[in-house]
Point group: D3
Chain length 119, copies 6
């Protein structure tokens, strides 16, 4: 798995996360394969996916994840201007999420999800 991580990322460095979960080879293998597939460019490009990862990690207050994915995003082309707008959006989203919650706002009928047929 380490070899594939280094080859995929074009680096000879394995960061602490992988070393930590390497105690559980099953978890290591599954997590790497899932992450590799999930973060590969597709309908969304690789940088956008890193930005989304940061947004989740900040909201979850995961220091390690913020540090590692911010570094990763910069290496994939995030500019300082993009970093700043990212933080602005994450801040605003966390604020308005709580205004919605505190004011107990009911979902507008027109916002019924268009994709989820199980509802």
């Amino acid at each position: 798995v380490y070899d594939d991580i280094m080859a995929t990322r074009k680096t000879d460095y394995i960061n602490n996360f992988w070393k930590a979960i390497a105690h559980d080879p099953v978890l290591l293998k599954r997590t790497w394969e899932d992450l590799k597939a999930t973060m590969a460019p597709g309908a969304l490009d690789a940088l956008t996916k890193e930005l989304l990862y940061i947004a989740v990690s900040v909201t979850n207050n995961c220091q390690y994840c913020i540090a590692s994915h911010t570094a990763s995003a910069f290496s994939k082309g995030m500019t300082p201007a993009m970093f700043k707008e990212l933080q602005q959006v994450v801040g605003m989203a966390n604020e308005t999420n709580k205004l919605v919650t505190g004011y107990q706002v009911m979902i507008d009928a027109r916002f019924e999800p268009p994709l989820n047929t199980a509802k």
Copy 2:
């Protein structure tokens, strides 16, 4: 404020969030102005910002916010394929955030933030 919301969004509909916080005109005005500036295209395009908003809202479990911003993202060009990749990234990020936390992984020295001189 309602007029500017409708003009900016090219709609004649005011959704429940704005009606709710309109009980507090100071909050309404400030939130709208902040949101309008934050969500305008800049270094990040408007759709990417909507995707980030959804990522935060899902992580915060804000049902209203998910419904309204998912609708908004579709209106700004999010395809079903993009929606699916977004959910995959949000799911994986929440999983690995917790693996990092449960394994108490220490930050690699090389992940020191490059932007924040206050540290």
Copy 3:
């Protein structure tokens, strides 16, 4: 326990929370006694304590808790103006919490806690 709840609150109504946890009489008794002691006026008055309860409940996105403690706060004298300022503070706090986190801000030396001798 129901009798003491009704006597303390000067009501003949037992809300769903107490009925739900009454399935576990040990939990019911302990929770009521702890809550009664915690929410009694002391260094902080009873209304301030309700406002704090709402702030936590909104941040945790607990719909029931928000509804019941908002009703309780109004019954203890919260005015609409106080409700609005409460929501503003909760919104701002959630926003700046995440800006701090996203920018990975390090704690200033002068903010060392003055109360906790265990550190």
Copy 4:
């Protein structure tokens, strides 16, 4: 902005949060103006607002925010007795939030929000 922060707070110290977000002058200006307006005494006094800020920050597990706003609250007159009651309320609220959630308690009809006409 730094001048107004120092003048408003009657200090010559700028804490790390403001230095960090000063990388983004737009964010710095907006955040300071919003925070200044939000935390000013109104229907709620300035100390109560600090207590609410701490309650949110503890629930969000934001170490920096807890340290800075706890210091700020002490400077605005929070006594050790108030600090202790604050922690008790925050602890109890987080506990009962989760009891409500785990027991899947349904909202009592009488707790319909009195303020939100958008519902």
Copy 5:
């Protein structure tokens, strides 16, 4: 995948979660395989794993997850007495998590993790 879900669970019912993510066949397949492996009895028995799932879901406030995994746990032998103790532990853990956070308690040297060699 549906066939394997029904065979593994000895049921002819597919619940809404699987129907929802079936819009994304890649996610459906991966999630089912991961979940099947993760929830299979091993060093921890299947019921303990369901209890852990509920504990996470309550803490995350995920209503669907609580409802489905509580039903699943009952089907795997959870007794009402076990359900009640589960809720007590989840409630207490959420309370003391926040007391630790609010009092800014520093980690005791003796609690250094014994498993994680990456630290």
Copy 6:
């Protein structure tokens, strides 16, 4: 209280959490008594309760709680294999919680809670 902690835990060590909240003797006494009762073996054994505590603490991102309860779980017989499966379950639960949320999955009628008569 310290004496009872040491006697119950068969140790002469008081960890930082108890020293911190000892500033508030009311909180110390109540928290210890509640925790002692909650964590005692009952329908669930003591180790299972520790695992649940860890699952909550990881989800809440409480570093101190994770470190202390992981140490406690090892002392009560958690094996490395159990630790690894615990982390796998916590990771998966956090992931699927968010897939459920992002896909806005509606609760199946058959998952109505069997225990809660207050609904």
